[in-house]
Symmetry: C2
Subunit: 383 residues, 2 copies
């Protein structure tokens, strides 16, 4: 049959032998191969080895000449350095690979793990928030981390200053996972060296980046998708109006994760992002109990009184804000219409048939998230 001439999708087999590992790392670290491409190549070609063999040809077809895949020595060196640091690579498809993270279309093909790998099996809640957190924010992060670990959850955060640091410190004993933006052996910020050391001993540090990689701006949104990807829910503890934590919240929503936020007084600018999320439909969180409750399905076994017509329920108006789920849908529509070849922004807006102002705002968000880029002449492309 004609269909047999097309490449059929292959299930991914995680590496078993040392050679497998070298091949995986060569494919993964080759130029222009990100997580999504990695999964697509293996699905199309069958194995990492076949995908690696096909790379120069795939590059040529995309107009890239003189393409050389990642050399064997580089992959071997990454494996050597990782093990030297005491880290273990966990591959997509492996039993130890976290199930929730595996659901992402851009799930990291390999996670370098340093510490207690069993934490990947725990139910994880992400605590994220401002680096310049207030004392209220820091105390709330501590409070939530203690309450959540007491309730049997483990905490995942980003090893940053402020909320992240407080969350990790308070969950060191009960289960803490730090997702790093750079290599798992590169501590950033430097002031968290002692905390990172402790997490490596009592908790778990993970990263998708190669050993020795210094964190760069583009690594942070990528790191944030792993934080929310590992978690059942993302709790924004404190966040200003335009902050990285809001980007994490949006990405969590794109991933179908529960988004929750701690409110604050509107006169406190550090609460603006959280209050905005709550107006847009995020669950208001006052403490760990609210998180646990929101994750517990409502038992519908008890009879509920039927509504009676003469007790007038209040007419509820939908808030005029675009709800988060709609924003996620709009992001999907925008990304679907963009590829590596640039498209004119006004054409995109016409195609989407949505108000230009709304699309414009979401384009900025996607740009900040590093998912699209602007080219000269009002052109947009997917990164």
């Amino acid at each position: 049959m004609a269909e047999e001439l097309l490449p059929s999708p292959h299930p991914l087999t995680p590496p078993r032998s040392e050679d497998d590992w070298v091949t995986w790392f060569r494919l993964l670290r080759s130029r222009r191969v990100g997580p999504t491409t990695f999964h697509r190549l293996i699905s199309e070609r069958g194995t990492a080895a076949d995908a690696l063999d096909a790379l120069p040809e795939v590059a040529r077809a995309a107009g890239v000449d003189r393409y050389a895949p990642c050399p064997v020595e580089v992959a071997q060196e990454e494996l050597r350095l990782g093990r030297l640091a005491g880290a273990v690579p966990v591959a997509f498809g492996d039993a130890a690979y976290p199930a929730l993270l595996a659901e992402l279309p851009d799930a990291p093909p390999v996670l370098w793990c340093l510490g207690d790998i069993s934490l990947l099996d725990r139910r994880l809640i992400a605590l994220v928030g401002a680096r310049n957190s207030s004392s209220l924010g820091t105390r709330m992060a501590k409070n939530l981390a203690e309450g959540l670990t007491a309730a049997g959850f483990a905490v995942v955060s980003g090893l940053a200053r402020g909320v992240d640091t407080a969350a990790h410190l308070a969950s060191l004993g009960g289960g803490t996972v730090a997702v790093q933006a750079g290599g798992v052996d590169v501590i950033y910020p430097a002031e968290n060296a002692v905390l990172a050391q402790e997490i490596g001993e009592r908790g778990l540090r993970v990263s998708e980046q190669p050993m020795g990689m210094q964190p760069q701006a583009r690594h942070f949104p990528a790191r944030n998708r792993i934080i929310s990807g590992l978690a059942q829910a993302v709790v924004v503890v404190e966040a200003a109006a335009k902050s990285g934590s809001l980007i994490t919240a949006r990405s969590a929503l794109d991933q179908g994760r529960e988004v929750m936020a701690v409110p604050g007084h509107p006169f406190d600018g550090r609460a603006a992002g959280c209050n905005m999320l709550i107006r847009d439909g995020a669950t208001l969180v006052r403490g760990a109990a609210d998180v646990v409750e929101a994750l517990t399905p409502v038992a519908d076994t008890e009879p509920r009184p039927a509504k009676i017509p003469d007790a007038a329920p209040a007419p509820r108006r939908d808030p005029p804000h675009r709800p988060l789920a709609e924003i996620a849908a709009l992001h999907g529509q925008i990304l679907d219409r963009l590829g590596p070849s640039p498209v004119a922004e006004d054409q995109l807006i016409r195609d989407l048939k949505a108000p230009a102002g709304e699309i414009g705002a979401e384009l900025v968000t996607l740009e900040l998230e590093g998912r699209i880029e602007r080219r000269p002449g009002g052109l947009l492309a997917r990164t």
Copy 2:
């Protein structure tokens, strides 16, 4: 036909002559005649005079002997004292009577008004909150009052300490209405004497109570129903977990009013009530713009992008909290099943087929609101 033997409902005609006024006030101030009974009696008997004549007979039928209606002299004295104080009585059915308030089943038959009666025609927003407000709460009340009056709304509040005082002060120039728990000529709390004087001159003071009435505990929930009854929306500016402002919010919801609340940090106990309301579905308010926006119907003229299946919207779980509208429905069900004759609480719970814990909580609320009372032996009755 047999039906003609039954009293047919009569539309209410407001008093025109001085004699009419005396009759209205006699009926209104007679023992056991509250606002709801007042409306029912006039509907059944045709005029206030006929209702007044029928009172002793109605009382006898209810098992009350030796019933005497309010004497002529008492009604005349109330009218004399009101006018002496510079107040004007506005009767239900009068052109000046506020349209929203008239919708309540227990709308005050007469409002004593002192000041600028035209304010009753304005679009009113209720600002309510803690008497022992924080500086954040006081500033927010001021901020909201200024922003709302600038947007063309007038502010209604209760002349109490804290949030009420700040709201009135900031809306003196733009339109402020104070609803008093006691007589319109009785200033409570005494420290607000100067503010009350200014509101009488530049704004409006109203009360349903007789002149000279000292405010008593039961007057405050009754006053609160007028505050929310006059308003398009009730904004709770600051409220602890078990506070009168929450009772006002519930009563506002029973009246079909929009309920909004200003969030605060969960570590600030004075925000607990507001955060609870927001979790239960109240609109989160950060400033006057949020109030105005929530009251403006969403214009659906702009095309919205259709949802596409591959941009997975987050699965939104309903919060396990009982939404406010459901609580209002439950209140209606409970009140419908109760009358002046006591009913056993466990019988009520069986009849309602709802979990005992949930009904128990709402019974406490209704009791606090003064709408039901407990009798010895586990019996409940409507007040």
